[in-house]
Amino acid sequence: MTIQMEKVCKRFPQPAGKELSVLEEVDLSIGEGEFVIILGESGCGKSTLLNLMAGLLPLSEGEIRVNGRRINQPHPSRAMIFQQPSLLPWLNVEENIVFGCKLRGEHDDLTVRTAQLIEIMGLSGFEKVKPHELSLGMAQRVCLARAMIGHPQILLLDEPFASLDTITRSHLQEELIEFWMVEKFTAVFVTHDIDEAILMGTRVVLLGGRPRGILKTYEVNLNFPRDIASRGFFLLRSAILKKLRESFDGYQRR
């Protein structure tokens, strides 16, 4: 599936009758099977952008089209992995994973698919465990499994690995990339970590500036699995950092 954003603006009403403009005139076109990274500092509107794509927030202006059709509400073909843990505490791991399928009435070989995903995600033996007994990394795997079990065509990920330790994170990064190569979905991945961005993305979109919008877009033409010590990696990293600093200085001086 493809996503086109045209002149997308998002403003939040403020208490004093004012409006907070978070995104202005965002144009972004995402092709089938791309792995697009949205990179930007905290508070620059990354989550907002993703929520707009998911259809969870109404637009202020502009238009978002998925496969050419305008969207205005969420749809399970665009599965989201949220920044905050969103497992239901009264359901166990297995029940959380099948939650969406049960909602939508998709019961076809659900048991088999669940068992497969639990195996792949390394959750075997934890099927009946309640979320509060899981470590953060495992909880995130459960969210990933819940998003993947419906075979979404678009996967939206909001800093899914931000609160994990380095080792767990790099494991999950590799697993996600393997998944993506097999399932061939379109991914939009939000992060504020440059290394994570270059490790995973086919394209990196820099979000920021004043007014906030897209600063610059970088194609990442490196083969998977990527080597963080390679020259290509290093050059791209420096370029992105330089751009980020420029924009930061730019609006600090103003």
Binding site: N51, Q84, P89, L103, R104
Partner: protein, 273 residues
């Protein structure tokens, strides 16, 4: 990352202190009961051992506890206990059937909450017993009048706590469910209601406490069963040991009912499995 044995160990560790904690609590409970009886003896003797008050000596621990023992073998007592519990259950059930949907709606729609806030707070503050004359006018049977009183007493805590529970539902869960394709009614049945269960149980527990308090005076009305009735009866026949015993029984039954809801509450509180 946690492995199975690690998790198992964690559970064991949790279990160890739990047992010790239970023993600790039990010890203090027994001590509390002992102190309570001591206080009862002291106050009882100070009051009823004075000349002119001998007739009230039935209220002292020994005669009261003897009478209590006697009550346990009396079928009329058990019939009364059952009659009282049945009334409370029916009254709360009616209040629950009315209060739950109201609470869910009020919690769900903010405008409805604003609209109902003042009337609900107002009605809530009216002592349930002040409805008694109204109840007697409206209902022909005393039995229905009692149900009405208990319903009037308990519907407010049920509405308010349920509404509070709904407003506390984590918005991320709602967004997650919407993203997974939930219809509006599914948001209610799959997210809002299960997430509110702890609050709903709390509301039932509060309702039970209020109902049990209102029940006894309500049973002073013209009926011939229930703990309120037999306590009145004991007063008229001046059997003060029996009166004291029934007071203890009322406390005891209330304690057991409250404790059973607390148990159910524990089962549904998902953080302490």
């Amino acid at each position: 990352m946690q492995t199975t044995p690690q998790l198992f160990q964690k559970r064991l560790k949790k279990l160890g202190p739990t047992w010790r904690y239970l023993a600790f609590r039990l010890g203090y409970s027994l001590l509390g009961i002992g102190l309570f009886i001591l206080l009862w003896v002291a106050v009882g003797y100070a009051l009823f051992a004075r000349p002119g008050y001998e007739q009230f000596s039935g209220f002292l621990p020994v005669p009261t506890l003897e009478a209590f023992w006697g009550l346990l073998f009396e079928s009329r007592f058990w019939m009364s206990v059952w009659a009282s519990i049945r009334r409370v259950m029916i009254g709360i059930t009616i209040a629950f059937i009315i209060g739950l949907p109201f609470g869910l709606l009020i919690g769900f729609y903010q405008k409805l909450q604003l609209l109902t806030y003042t009337p609900v707070q107002f009605l809530r503050m009216i002592s349930p017993l002040s409805w008694m004359p109204v109840a007697l006018l409206v209902f022909h049977s005393f039995e229905s009048a009692i149900y009405f009183l208990i319903t009037m007493a308990t519907v407010w805590p049920i509405i308010l706590n349920t509404a509070h529970g709904v407003s506390q539902v984590n918005p991320h869960w709602v967004n997650m469910a919407r993203n997974q394709g939930a219809q509006d009614y599914q948001l209610l049945t799959r997210i809002v209601v299960p997430a509110s269960i702890p609050y709903i149980l709390t509301s039932l527990r509060l309702a039970l406490g209020v109902a049990w308090i209102v029940l006894v005076p309500a049973e002073f009305l013209g009926i011939s069963s229930g703990l309120g009735y037999i306590i009145n009866d004991a007063r008229d026949t001046m059997e003060y040991d029996r009166l004291g015993a029934i007071i203890i029984a009322i406390g005891f039954v209330g304690f057991v009912l409250d404790g059973s809801i607390e148990l159910i509450q524990r089962m549904f509180s998902w953080n302490v499995a």
